[in-house]
Subunit: 142 residues, 2 copies
Amino acid sequence: MTDRSRRDVILAATALAVGVTATGTRAAASTPASKASFPPVVHHVFFWLKNPDSKEDLAKLLAGLRTLADIDTVRGIHIGVPADTEQRGVVDGSYSASEILFFDDVEGQNAYQVHPIHKQFVADCEHLWERVVVYDAKAVAP
Amino acid sequence: MTDRSRRDVILAATALAVGVTATGTRAAASTPASKASFPPVVHHVFFWLKNPDSKEDLAKLLAGLRTLADIDTVRGIHIGVPADTEQRGVVDGSYSASEILFFDDVEGQNAYQVHPIHKQFVADCEHLWERVVVYDAKAVAP
């Protein structure tokens, strides 16, 4: 079983665990989907490019970020750029790229940090950014 | 159909759209789950409590955050506190609570901002926090 197919099975299992079924109906006695639809540990990283106007540098960074999906402990990934929402004072839309990774536990996140694919990403891309901010969060019980 | 059951159907549809099936096998010609397993628009909010050591204030805030799951345009929610990952220099673990909401589009996020449940949450809980930082991101095409 490849890393990718193993992850797909795990994602399917997660979908089932929260009561989402292939027919679109809700399983009896399931956990509310709104509270259990994602793996519990989140690692959210924001990158500010040295050259924030360089589309080429952004493309390189995004390509590097996509390689992280193949790390086996990564259970979900969302790679983005600032959304065109209303820029109120509390909204920080100054970053260049956003990477959200989900893990089953802190150990999974620790394993990711030292994984060769992650190290290669840092080696290939760290010259592109001038600042990184990381937030790690774990889900609280309902 | 209630808001909750409608959301469950949508979550199921999302799971199917990314090739996750009830049997744990991968649908042919599907988008890689690693790149499309979450709705595209993310709204991530970090809260710093006025009384960061007050478990009671944190509980009130978390209870308030949970009510946001019932807003119909919210496609997924993750509520958390700082994870006990290694506190490297780039990791900001100083916040009290984290709220991640997923939306199908920016319009869904805009509708959430003015929804009565969201306004009630702000009215009930804003006295608890001294600082809020918001990051809105939209997924980039692979």
